[in-house]
């Protein structure tokens, strides 16, 4: 358990800043073995493997679009978004549908876990060593049992540079 030590260096000021969000519940998901979470309030739906229509010329992170009960949802592949290797062919992805600015987006994850209520006590700021790509989209890191959960800021996940 060396990681917690690193986390504590985050110091109290950052903790206080995060305190507001701490009561939020998160939905956990796994992307390339990494446990992550998104605030449950922004989640609209969780779907199994969907037919996704690719969109030509779209940013690399955009996997395509899908039909959710008559609404068009734009799918963003978290692996591509987070700079992780592509999913093996033949393995479908789960869709976590979130709503941002009145638009629906699907975050493609390998697995979807459960809804957890996290206390602010367990949350720490981003470790300074965290990959820049991750640091931009992460609200903080959470200790959960024996593993670490990276909590994503959904707005930032969907702010593609392209």
């Amino acid at each position: 358990m060396q990681q917690p030590q690193t986390l504590n260096t985050g110091g109290p000021p950052s903790r206080a800043a995060l305190g507001v969000d701490a009561a939020h519940m998160v939905l956990t998901l796994a992307v390339a073995g990494q446990q992550c979470g998104v605030p449950v309030l922004s989640v609209r739906d969780v779907l199994g493997v969907q037919v996704i229509t690719p969109i030509p010329l779209a940013p690399r992170e955009v996997a395509g679009s899908l039909n959710l009960r008559g609404r068009i949802v734009t799918a963003v592949d978290l692996r591509a978004r987070l700079g992780l290797p592509a999913r093996e062919t033949g393995k479908g992805a789960m869709s976590v549908v979130v709503e941002v600015g009145g638009e629906l987006y699907s975050l493609l994850a390998d697995e979807v876990g459960e809804v957890l209520s996290l206390s602010s006590e367990d949350r720490a700021a981003n470790p300074p060593t965290l990959d820049n790509l991750w640091r931009d989209v992460s609200l903080g890191v959470h200790r959960q049992g024996g593993s670490l959960l990276v909590i994503f800021d959904v707005d930032k996940l969907l702010a593609l540079s392209a």
Partner: protein, 855 residues
């Protein structure tokens, strides 16, 4: 807020909305008794209700205004512009108080004594009747207003109150409109439900197609029909004429013209063009801003205008129309235009670009700098001809709703801003195609035809270096392979081996072909905007869900044309493409001809644009009436003429193909034996072997073809054509200036049939001779290229002065590139139309002759 008050506010807002317009009308027609009564009633109602609700401030202002109106109505006092201004001020004050009421539920505090005193003074007959002394007095109430305003304006309007859909407002004077108020949310929900219903219906139809279960097919057809009707109906509830967003502009322009000491006419066209309510709301502000800019900075003072040789009255033109799934809005003025040199200086001073780059830019590109953020600093406002004010903000706002802004400007001739807004929510027919294994939708309104290309005997895709072209009839069509521009997989066999399809598409004057692998069905699709993170991809105008539930992207032919012709996405190709494209454009002018067979001999042809409709009428419906043949057509009798000679009416069963000329109750049918084809050909008429009814012959598709003289045939049916019942109507007089006898023959019948009295001359010099002989017309239609004095020469001579100086002039030209159109408008033409475009010409004539909405 209590219900009574809410009702009062809604009602008062409605009344106030119409009041501005009515007062302005009253200013023009001071003797309009019914209008005056209407205005009086509105103000009186407001006053009465205020008293009942205990709104004392509102009541006192309304009361003072009502006093003046009452005296006007009784004829004790005469209506004067100064008085109208004062009443308008009172109306403004009422609006402010009402806005305050909406925001807080209470009357805002404020001092109305000055305003009331002025109103009372007018009521006492103290204010002189001539408008001149009005100017010095104006600042007083204005200043008082300005003081009272901030507190009120700071409070945001309460959307709940405004939410009810505004009924289609009409200028005061009619009876109570047959409308009810429905909350916008209800309409929105309905729209969503209908969209879902359409999609579900499409899915059902898809299933039915594969199932072939006859029991379901009939009710399903019915369901389908009802769904379509329902969809149309609900769509209509969301559409509002753009005129609703323009309502406040005449007042704005009037006030500005007083404030600035300029004479301004506001000319609004296409006010009935409908667009989605949501979009309407969003463009209101940018629109107001641009009109204000035009009046403030675009137009010169009367002195400057006189010095520049223009009429003292400046014009601001608003024009709205539909174009290829978009709504185009033009806001123009005939003022000083943009000063290119000063923009250049400003751009350099601000470091927005380098001198070397500037040198490579054309005028339009330089003008576009005014849209750049940072250009519109305070310094720019005064030193550049003023147009920098907030244009970047306007641009941003319009782009936010997926629109685009452009401008054209000629120094000394004025500027026009062109706003293009997509119909964000619309159901359109689209062609479903496949390329690189993916399906796409192409809106059908941009598709001219489909051509199958491949190895066989049919047309082939050819290459000029890397550029693909298709020889389609006599035209060299530039091709855009969809796979390539969308960077789709090329590993499946390339488009030019094996079979593929070319979707011939038109954008503006440009024809091009989109190469796709397969073509499926056409389908009604609900256009949904793409997610914001994809909005930078200009190739798509939206996305949709198909009947089978899959999501597909909708291609935007405009975006594709831009990306391939001008854009930098395919930089390597663009040069070859551009030269090739212009080669096509420079080729001889092609005309769409309708080929038909009638009698013996050569096939016959007529320019397609002259034909209103093609009909196949059952032979038994053709009746003999006296010497001539007629048919009951659209509720009236249409004379029929056989082209093959005056033979017997067709015998036996079968259909009689008929070319219908003209419209409505003045239709004429020409009976032919068979309609063959529509082809594009260069009209190079050889008059040898000319005979009555034909202009001559011409080689079409390698065969000698006789070209129909439409005027001759219309003459044959003259009595029916110019029926007596129309004789008493005064026909607007049109002067047509055109050197080619052939074009005159084409245009004159079309215009005459449209109900105009036509005079023709063959060049500008002859036209001016008519002017000097004091001949008066209502509108002039002129060709551009003519001997002696061409169209541009004519328009500038006409605009210079004389009795025709203010006549609308329509340019008719074979060249219809945007640059030509801009040049024509800049030169002083009111409109610019392609030759052969019969409908556009008639529409334009109608527009030109409608009285301008002046302020």
């Amino acid at each position: 807020m209590d219900d009574l008050l809410a009702d009062f506010l809604t009602e008062t807002n409605e009344g106030l909305q119409n009041l501005d317009g009515a007062l302005l009308q009253l200013e023009r027609e001071p003797a309009n008794g019914p209008l005056l009564s209407e205005v009086f009633r509105t103000v009186h109602t407001i006053k009465g209700t205020c008293g009942f609700l205990g709104l004392s401030r509102l009541e006192s202002v309304a009361h003072a205004a009502e006093n003046v109106l009452g005296l006007w109505r009784d004829g004790t006092l005469t209506v004067t512009p100064a008085g109208i201004s004062l009443i308008l001020n009172a109306v403004d004050r009422i609006k402010q108080i009402v806005a305050g009421l909406e925001a807080s539920g209470q009357e805002p505090s404020g001092d109305d004594t000055a305003l009331k005193a002025e109103l009372d003074a007018v009521a006492a007959g103290q204010l002189p009747t001539e408008p001149a002394p009005r100017a010095p007095e104006a600042p007083a109430p204005q200043a008082a207003l300005a003081e009272a305003a901030p507190a009120i304006e700071a409070a945001p309007p309460v959307p709940e109150i405004r939410a009810p859909a505004e009924p289609v407002a009409e200028v005061v004077g009619g009876s109570a409109p047959q409308t009810i108020r429905v909350a916008v949310d209800v309409l929105e929900d309905l729209m969503v439900l209908v969209s879902e219903l359409v999609l579900t219906r499409n899915q059902l139809l898809q299933l039915a197609r594969s199932e072939e279960n006859a029991a379901f097919s009939v009710p399903l057809q019915r369901l389908s029909q009802i769904t379509s009707d329902l969809q149309d109906g609900v769509m209509k509830t969301r559409m509002q004429p753009i005129g609703n967003a323009w309502q406040k502009l005449p007042r704005l322009v009037r006030d500005l013209s007083q404030e600035l000491g300029k004479r301004i006419v506001l000319d609004m066209r296409g006010a009935e063009t409908e667009l989605d309510r949501q979009v309407l709301e969003l463009i209101k502000d940018p629109l107001t801003h641009m009109v204000r800019n035009s009046a403030d900075h675009g137009l010169e003072s009367p002195e400057q205008r006189r010095a520049a040789g223009k009429s003292e009255t400046g014009r601001i033109m608003l024009n709205a129309f539909h174009e290829g799934g978009h709504i185009v809005l033009e806001i123009g003025d005939d003022g000083r235009g943009l000063n290119t040199e000063r923009i250049k200086a400003k751009v350099l001073a601000q470091g927005l670009t380098t001198e070397a780059e500037l040198a490579t830019m054309n005028e339009r590109e330089i003008h576009r700098f005014i849209f750049r953020a940072g250009f519109s600093t305070a310094a720019a406002v005064t030193s550049v001809s003023g147009r920098g004010v907030g244009m970047d903000v306007v641009k941003t706002n319009i782009e936010r709703i997926g629109g685009a802004v452009d401008l054209r400007s000629r120094e000394g001739h004025g500027s026009t801003f062109i706003i293009k807004i997509p119909l964000t929510l619309a159901i359109v027919a689209a062609l479903i195609v496949e390329a690189g294994g993916e399906r796409f939708a192409i809106p059908q309104n941009g598709v001219l035809e489909l051509v199958r290309v491949g190895d066989g005997d049919g047309p082939k895709v050819e290459r000029i270096k890397d550029a693909q072209v298709l020889r389609l009839r006599d035209r060299l069509l530039p091709l855009v392979p969809l796979r390539r521009i969308l960077s789709l997989s090329e590993d499946t066999p390339p488009a030019d081996s094996g079979e593929s399809f070319v979707v011939v598409t038109q954008v503006g004057a440009q024809l091009f072909g989109i190469v796709v692998d397969r073509v499926f069905d056409t389908e009604e699709i609900v256009v949904k905007p793409v997610a914001p993170i994809l909005r930078h991809i200009t190739m798509f105008s939206g996305n949709t869900i198909l009947g089978d539930g899959s999501v597909i992207m909708i291609l935007d032919p405009n975006g594709i044309a831009r990306a391939t012709g001008l854009g930098s996405e395919i930089a390597g190709d663009s040069a070859t493409r551009a030269t090739q494209t212009s080669a096509v454009a420079r080729g001889p002018r092609q005309t769409a001809l309708l080929l038909f067979r009638a009698g013996e001999g050569a096939p016959k042809a007529v320019p397609l644009a002259l034909v209103a409709r093609l009909e196949h009428l059952p032979a038994e419906r053709v009746e003999q009436a006296g010497d001539s043949m007629v048919v009951q057509y659209r509720g009236s009798l249409m004379p029929l003429l056989p082209i093959a000679g005056y033979g017997a009416p067709p015998t036996g069963g079968g259909d009689q193909p008929v070319l219908v000329f003209g419209d409505g109750d003045r239709a004429l049918g020409l009976m032919v034996d068979e309609i063959l084809d529509v082809v594009d050909a260069v009209l190079d008429i050889d008059q040898a072997g000319q005979r009555p009814g034909f202009l001559g012959s011409c080689v079409v598709n390698g065969r000698v073809t006789e070209i129909l003289d439409t005027a001759h045939w219309l003459q044959q049916a003259k009595e029916d054509w110019f029926g007596n019942r129309r004789a008493e109507i005064v026909r607007p007089r049109v002067l047509i200036v055109e050197d080619s006898a052939f074009f005159r023959n084409l245009v004159v019948p079309a215009v005459t049939a449209g109900g105009y009295e036509v005079t023709t001359v063959s060049n500008g010099r002859e036209a001016l001779a008519l002017r000097d002989a004091d001949e008066m017309f209502d509108v002039i239609v002129s060709d551009i290229e003519m001997p002696e004095l061409d169209g541009f020469g004519l328009v500038s001579a006409v605009r210079e002065g004389g009795i025709w100086a203010d006549l609308p002039m329509i340019a008719l030209s074979g060249r219809c590139e945007p640059e030509d159109v801009a040049r024509g408008r800049g030169a002083g033409f009111s409109d610019y139309i392609g030759k052969y475009d019969r409908d556009a010409l008639l529409a334009s004539l109608q527009d030109c002759l409608q009285p301008a909405v002046a302020s």
